[in-house]
Symmetry: C2
Subunit: 576 residues, 2 copies
Amino acid sequence: MDRVIRVNARLGTIAATPVSEETRAWGGRQTIAEVLTRETSPLSDPLGRGNALVFAPGWLGGTAVTTSGRLSVGAKSPLTGGIKEANVGGEAGQKLARLGVHALILEDAPDAPAARGLYVGPHGARWIEDLSLAGRTVGETFRVLRERFGETCGILAIGPAGEFRMGAAGVATTDASGTQIRYAARGGLGAVMGAKGVKAIVLDDGGAAADRGADPARLAEAARRYATALINDPKAQGMSKQGTSAIVGTANELGLLPTRNFREGRFEAADALQGARLAELVAERGGRGRTGVPCMTGCVIRCSNVFPDPGGEIAVASLQYETIALLGSNCGVATLDGVAHLNALCNDLGLDTIEMGCVLGVAMEAGLAAFGDVEAAADLLTQTAKGTPLGRILGQGVVFAGRALGVRRIPAVNGQGIPGYDPRAMKGNGVTYVTSPMGADHTAGNAFGTWKAIDPLSGAGQIANSRGLQVRAAILDMAGLCLFARAPFVAEPELLADLVSGRLGRDVSFSDIVTAAAHTLTLERDFNQRAGRSDAFCDVPEFMRFEPLPPHNTVFDIGHDEMMRIWDIEPDRKGF
Amino acid sequence: MDRVIRVNARLGTIAATPVSEETRAWGGRQTIAEVLTRETSPLSDPLGRGNALVFAPGWLGGTAVTTSGRLSVGAKSPLTGGIKEANVGGEAGQKLARLGVHALILEDAPDAPAARGLYVGPHGARWIEDLSLAGRTVGETFRVLRERFGETCGILAIGPAGEFRMGAAGVATTDASGTQIRYAARGGLGAVMGAKGVKAIVLDDGGAAADRGADPARLAEAARRYATALINDPKAQGMSKQGTSAIVGTANELGLLPTRNFREGRFEAADALQGARLAELVAERGGRGRTGVPCMTGCVIRCSNVFPDPGGEIAVASLQYETIALLGSNCGVATLDGVAHLNALCNDLGLDTIEMGCVLGVAMEAGLAAFGDVEAAADLLTQTAKGTPLGRILGQGVVFAGRALGVRRIPAVNGQGIPGYDPRAMKGNGVTYVTSPMGADHTAGNAFGTWKAIDPLSGAGQIANSRGLQVRAAILDMAGLCLFARAPFVAEPELLADLVSGRLGRDVSFSDIVTAAAHTLTLERDFNQRAGRSDAFCDVPEFMRFEPLPPHNTVFDIGHDEMMRIWDIEPDRKGF
């Protein structure tokens, strides 16, 4: 990863420059934070000329290290108004890294809407001038580009929602099999890509070999140790059975499962949405249905699935917990088929399922559809792609939609819809939603995994808990590693240091990595501070401080002042 | 003004408490700033339970001092996210003051939408239980309440836009003749009133006499001197001929008149919108048309008008510069009849004409109507009151509408639409829009009056200019005086001190008044800072820094850092 490609989306110029030694040491989420901090103004209009959209592989991107191919996508967010990094599996991260690209940066913006394609190949980058991509769904866009550039290329694309520059628009990408549609979903980064006039980016690495790192022996040794540890970790291996849907039952039991616009924490039909039911349906229906599917080539966790329709054809791939919680219970939708239908629509239209699950919940509270009415919900989703006035309200995200529809209970923090953990019953997540530079994001420091150790209904210990989880999430986002790949590092933090040392060709300790992650969080917080999106200015939604959440009937009661002291806590430099 | 009335909009309780000595010294805009700072959290949801809506007369409210009856209305704004004070002429301020009410505060908010009426009379306040007000236009609401409570009562009300809690909703009030509809228009305060579930407030002072002040002789003497000075001031007296519409020609000549969504600064049809034309039409058409109309009883400036339709019936009262600029040239509307039609609609639906002029300009840029098409514009306005999806987009204000419609050129600063002075050609106003706690507000420090002294196309001297104007505006907003009543104080600042001293019954110097105004601005800035709406986080819209404005082809080029030093300048404690 020895160069940076800069694309001026206004002038159309493309330039590649070698990376400096300093830049080379940045990975993924840190690259986003450094580039935005150094090259853009925090006051820039997220959809204007001053924002930059950055694609950056992690430290381990392009190597043969398992689960290391996550691609960080980042910009100033039109939803949160602060810096946003969303990362995604699939093939794009590996391809970009194997093309030797440390960062791909879309700068400036055209005055008139555009939907151009960009090709990045072994011999450089160029615009795709002869394909008409405007208005196409994500699925069509992938098909058209695969027909032209071959089945093995990686693709990043936006749907109609991104072209409309809607706040709920994400950036979609492909998997190696051409089956899954994965998303760098959150923060409205699809709208930023739309504002750059870029519809799709094709990444063609020409079958390049894995990056062996600056110290190949050290990297290979650490990679082997790491893969072995993951393969021997029962929890990681358990993920191949039901994937993230395995937690539906626990979330429901804990009473934190968003239900009917966050009015309840337990859904009477949760059994029908559970991971066990998902696995059962996959087994029963056969056909193209699968569990234990990897999103990235070589992943040994394989938490993804191909969810089949009753006829065995692909309904959606992959069906995940967040989507089940938000498009399912939060909308009163009581079947996995219903969720899969809405999920597939979001995927094709270019929409974040979490944000849209919050939007639909609010729309249902406003009476635009009955809770549980899948067809009415699908119609609402479809309107976004048509650009109808109602679609333009819904596609802008839950704060916008709630305001427009006159709904007072808007489940959002920092401008972004709340993911599948109600902060009243999982208080550590409330702390993360408020204090993370990423806003209400389930990947920025999710306390779900700590529920056995720390009472989720109590505020006690949640601030330190969230802080530790936020640092851990930042580390994984910098490494390009999946959040589910953490177990070996919990057992042996220096294993991560060995991987990074082998990749960079110099000694990096785990303590150095913690320092870099803390530095990244500081950069992000500083950017947000200067953008007016400091956590000092936000809290959980008002109703979550007043309205008890059944069945535990708790409100969110961690004081704002107390949360603001989270960064006074020293990070743990030894434990992961 | 010896008591504060607190209404709990959730519980329905009403309580009156005597004011303390400290509170008694606050006037109008300062009362807003003090109450919000002391009693609410800057983090509160503007449309939620934590915000307070405050109505407060100025220092001179309720007295016989001419032009002193402006009522300050304030809350945390759903548009700017910061503190907002909007003040309004008409009768409400005088009535509230003569009822002895130093501040009327609506606290908390009901869960379910409501549209209650509140009656404040000589014997206290109570809910109006037996009138159905929900969904009524402002005109109907005034009529129904006048029928019940008599023609002489003062009324504050919201229209359907406020009931929908739309960001462009203002708070309307009556004049003594029942002809005019005046607005505390800006900042979406009508949405806050809607969120409180209060549709209208009737102020029945039972014909109470004017407040003679704590030192009646001193107040009467100063009031006489002041009235004489105003009557002898040629500029103030000139206002009775054409009112604020007199400046259309100059604004056009200076090239700062918003035209077709702020694309140009000069409108080819400006002659047809000029003050001279307005006066001519009033004279030609006769009937109920008038110029030289006061908005407050006893005002000697009389800048308002009753604009007649061709048949001599009332088209709208009063037709003012800001509305002509925003609903006129900014929408390409080339006749005063067209502007009056749109103005009357806004008045009736409860909408701020400035915000809606910006919204319609953006909607026209998006192709929803042709520039200049009055009927199409009227249809768009009407949709807000119907609550159609498109109406819900437009009624939320220009930032919301521009974002939803995918328009990149959004003329707003700090979330609020820009009034009738393009900052590229009147740079002092750009400084005010960015640095005033009130955002893009023409009454918060308008540099228009300084164009002869300070080149409006140059940035030189504009920061000090804006600062002085902001302090002056705050002083008048605290006194309850009209901005057009300033000439005598420019000539003799201590005259204002005499008026305030007579009213409060203790020696107040002009320097003391400047200190109080600077303190108010500091409170407001501090509130905004804590709310995340510091001027450090905002700038003029991006396009105004890139896109030259014809005919002078200037961009806004005062540096953000330079503007941020505005509060380092010491206020002038001698000159007004």
